[in-house]
Every structure is written in C-alpha cells, then in structure tokens.
Symmetry: C2
Subunit: 315 residues, 2 copies
C-alpha cells in the first residue's frame, strides 16, 4: 500500500493553502509536515508541490490528491457499514459544475440531497472542455457540461436543457432598439458575453442573420452578468430560471408573452426565440455509494429544474 | 513604430478565440491572419500564441496584447479631440475585479458611468494577489482588491469596505445551533468557503475562539455561495448588499437587530459581529482619459455602495 501519512500531509497543505495551516489541521508541527512532503517527493523522484508563484500541486501532486479523495469516498462507504471504524472525517466530493448551473438549480438540488447524505462538496467552475479534461485526469469525480460523450471510466446521463432568453433593461432597449429588433440595431448594441467560449449571443444573433463582429462587454460572473444587464450596459442570454429568481418573481410562468419579466426591470428581447443548452451529468463508474446516490437524485429530480429535451418554447 | 497590422491580427485571434473567427472580425482570410502571426513570431524569435491544449497567448503575446489595449485607449482620447479620424472601434477597458464586488455594487457603478462614456469592459475575476500580479505585468489597466499598496507605475485609492455577515438558513440553524452559537457547535457546522484564499469564515470563527480544522464546502461562485446557504448546506460570510439584493428586500436597513433578513430565508448568526474588508481601486497612471474618468466616478460614488472606513456595525 501507499504511505497515506505522506499523502494526507500533501492533502492538508493544499487544502489549507499553506504548510502552517496544513500542519495545524493535522495536529502536527510544520516541520513534520515538511518532512513528510520531502519524503514523498524523494520517493517519487519528482515534486508534488510548486512553491511559487503560489503554493499549488504539480500535475503529479494533483493526481495523488485525487487518489486520496477516491480513497476517502470509499472509506465513507465502509464507515456506513462499519460505524465503529469512524474517524469523524466527512468525505469530500470534488465536482466541476458549469457556472450557470451553479448560479441557478444546483444549490437547491444538492440542498435536498445533503439532508440525507453527509458529504462536503468541493466545487470547481469550468466550461465543458476543461471539465471533461479534469474528469479524464481524475481530478474531479463528476461534472455537469453540455457534451454527452463520457470520458473513459465514466458514464453520462442527459439531465434536460437550460433555457436562455435574450434580456435587457427597458432603458437599454429604448436607446438601442427604438425601431425594434433589426439586424442593423443588433450589430450596434453592446452584448454581454461570459467568456471567450460563450457562443450563446452569437447563436441568438445568427437567428437575425447577424454575424460577428459585434460590440460586447466580457463578464465572467453569472451574477455580474445579470447585474450589467440590469444596469443597462448590454443585452445578454440569461438562464430563464436565474432571471426569474433574480427579479424575485419566483415563477417562470410570469415571463408573459409580451416579454416583460414580472417586475419590468428586464425585458425579453424576443420571447419566441430561446436558446436551449442540453446538460449532461458525468460521473466515475467506480465512485462509491455517495456518488451513485447523487446520480440517482439528480436524475430523479432534474425535470423540476431543467427543460425536458422535447419541450417547445412557451410549453 | 511597431507593425500594428501584425499586433491587430494577434488581438483578433485571441479576442475571438480562433483563427477563423479572428480573420472574419478583421475582414481577412484565415491564411492572411496566420501569415501575420507567423511573421510576428519570426521577427520576435519567440511564439506569441500557444496552440494547445487550447489557443492562448504566451506571456510575451499577453504583453503585446496589453500594449495594443493601451494604444487603443490612447486612440480613444485622440478620437474625442479629432473625431474625423474615427475608426468606429470602441475602446476595451480590461480590469480585474474581485468576485464579491462584481456580484454586488460594480454593475450599478459602471452602469451610471457608461451612460456618459462609450467603453466596452473586459472583466476578469481574480483574488487580490493575482490581480496585482496582472497589474504589474500590464495585463489589466485597473483592479479592485483589498491591498492598498500600488504596483510600480500605478496609483491606488481607498474606496471603503465591503461588510460581510454570517448567514444561514433557519433550518440549518435549527439543526446545528439548537443551543445557540457555541464554539463546539461552530466546530461541527459545515461552513461555506469561496476558495483556498477565502479566510472570512476563519476570521468569524476566531471571534468565537474556534480554530481550524472545521468542515466546509468549497464553492467558487458568488451566486452559488448564497444558493448553498439558502439550500441549508452551510453557513457563510455573505456581503451585506448581496444578501439584501438576493432576498429582494432592497434595503440594508431591513437587516433588523434580531438578525432576521427581511424575508426570513436567511438569518444573521450574529448581527453584532461583522467582518469589514477594505477595498482599493488600483489603476495605471498613464491610462488615458477614460481610465481617469472612471477613477473619478468610482471615488465620487463609492460611499453609496461601500461602508466608509470609520463606520461601526449597525451605524
């Protein structure tokens, strides 16, 4: 077997972002923790930690941390069956979630789950390519992304689609669309774009025959994105659920056919034109019972949060 | 002078995250854009773009892009004075903003600013160390972070403080704090932590004499963070303004002394114990008039969004 004392030292230092705090977590001296990590590196003949520009695991270190996480998940299953072994540690489940899911339905989903299962989540926000790479490298035990194809050793399941609507403030619309949604006006009106991989605005513009370039602000924060729309800086594709919650109307039905969201602070530019992005849950095949239970939970309830694949706009 | 045709090709490819889209933005063929970038790399004797794992500028490429951005800001000033030169390009202002500012007061602040100044924002979300490094490397023209010390060639100004309160759902409080806020209960109740550099929860726990380790979920999304608190997964330090907006009460005064936020879905664990984080605006000294105007705007209005340094809790 591997020497888990050494691996636990590595995990504590990374988890606590420092040798001193990592040592405190383990109830050891800083020098004891340093010794363990040096010994681990000497055995491997390679560094597991980069010290600068900031403390971070090397790719090898990351691979080891992931192994530690897997072992802890398996220990969690064992403890359910043999409580007397109890170490008091709760397992950590490391998952990559796309930003819009994390800003909308994910908290409610795992809220219900954690009522029944003791587990601590370690979430990372990634777009899909990076999320799948992290799955492949074994750095996360599961991910939500818009690609159906599982990586080796994993499974994927369709959850339904996230529906996006083009929203802007009334003042923005009065300024940039005085004569309605023409291609010429869309070519001039600043859009909001989440990041370089965000093509949602491009897809909406294509429905009006508008091609890049077009002016846009870049804002890689879900809440900042809606904030900039509310402040009248641009129009952007916002998850229907996020808009409903942000505006406090609590119900998607209140996005009425005239395109006014309940409180009128944001208006749907084109209520009949939505963009649906299908989402998939990917997870390790051998991830232990907590991961299996989370999979069952997400599949049984995803209809409450996402649009089934065959739904039509307004349906 | 540098050959700006080559630099513009680099900027377009990075901006559009692809050679084909970059070429379309410039109205050129893909092969013409490739040729320009090859020529640039041949002259420099070093690559400016990494092609894998994904298209991204090298550090040298990033330095050049930043120079292009500076030149564009200066052109923007020139155009104000000599409109006949007009190229139709709007300047991009690249800034690093801490996640909680972007989720709270920043959109409203720049909304008012952009009513008067035509500028497109390119925001990056960074914690303070990385933000200052990006300032030093010239990758961003300004940043908001909690360190007062400017990097070389930049200035910094105090804006005021962001006030954080420890919030949790009533169900969470009933489950983990049936006998009130004891150190023993705080040691067991899962916290929410934004990322490895987020020490807010540690600071709050220290007021109760609680030292790490303590159980926590990691969630690097401002909206997801509040979502997990609402869903009852943990307690966490939430910006006062974000809590007020998220819960739709619109007014900080409604966080009443009993600790119940207006609609009761989140409760302040300890209304008299807040954590204030001072924020500073850093900007290049020679950043052009748009940057100067933004600086004046932020300084004149920051009182509306942040707590002045000498304010006391409840004041």
């Amino acid at each position: 077997m591997l020497d888990y004392k050494l691996l636990a030292a590595l995990a504590a230092v990374v988890d606590q972002a420092g040798f001193e705090r990592g040592a405190r977590q383990l109830g050891l001296t800083q020098s004891a923790v340093s010794q363990r990590i040096k010994l681990l590196e000497a055995r491997l003949g390679q560094p597991v930690l980069m010290r600068s520009p900031r403390l971070a695991p090397t790719p090898l270190g990351q691979r080891l941390l992931n192994h530690v996480q897997q072992v802890r998940l398996l220990e969690h299953d064992l403890l359910d069956e043999v409580p007397a072994l109890g170490s008091g540690d709760e397992p950590r489940l490391r998952l990559a979630i796309n930003a819009d899911s994390l800003a909308t339905w994910w908290p409610e989903a795992v809220g219900r789950f954690s009522d029944r299962h003791r587990v601590l989540f370690e979430l990372v926000v990634e777009d899909q390519e990076v999320a799948l790479k992290r799955m492949r490298d074994g750095e996360v035990a599961g991910c939500i992304c818009d690609s159906p194809r599982p990586v080796q050793g994993a499974r994927s399941h369709a959850l339904g689609s996230m529906r996006y609507r083009a929203l802007a403030s009334p003042a923005f619309i009065a300024r940039y669309f005085p004569n309605g949604m023409t291609a010429a006006a869309l070519k001039r009106a600043p859009a909001l774009v989440f990041g370089p991989d965000d093509r949602l605005q491009h897809r909406f513009l294509a429905m009006y025959g508008v091609e890049p370039p077009f002016p846009y602000h870049l804002c890689p924060s879900s809440q900042g994105f809606v904030g900039l729309a509310l402040a009248g800086l641009g129009w952007g594709m916002v998850p229907e659920r996020q808009a409903a919650r942000e505006l406090g109307d609590g119900s998607l039905q209140e996005i009425d056919p005239s395109g006014h969201l309940a409180d009128g602070r944001l208006v749907d530019l084109s209520p009949q034109r939505v963009v649906d992005i299908p989402l998939y849950w990917h997870h390790w095949r051998q991830g232990g019972q907590v991961l299996d239970a989370l999979t069952d939970h997400l599949l049984s309830l995803s209809d409450s949060w996402l649009v089934p694949p065959d739904a039509t706009p307004g349906g």
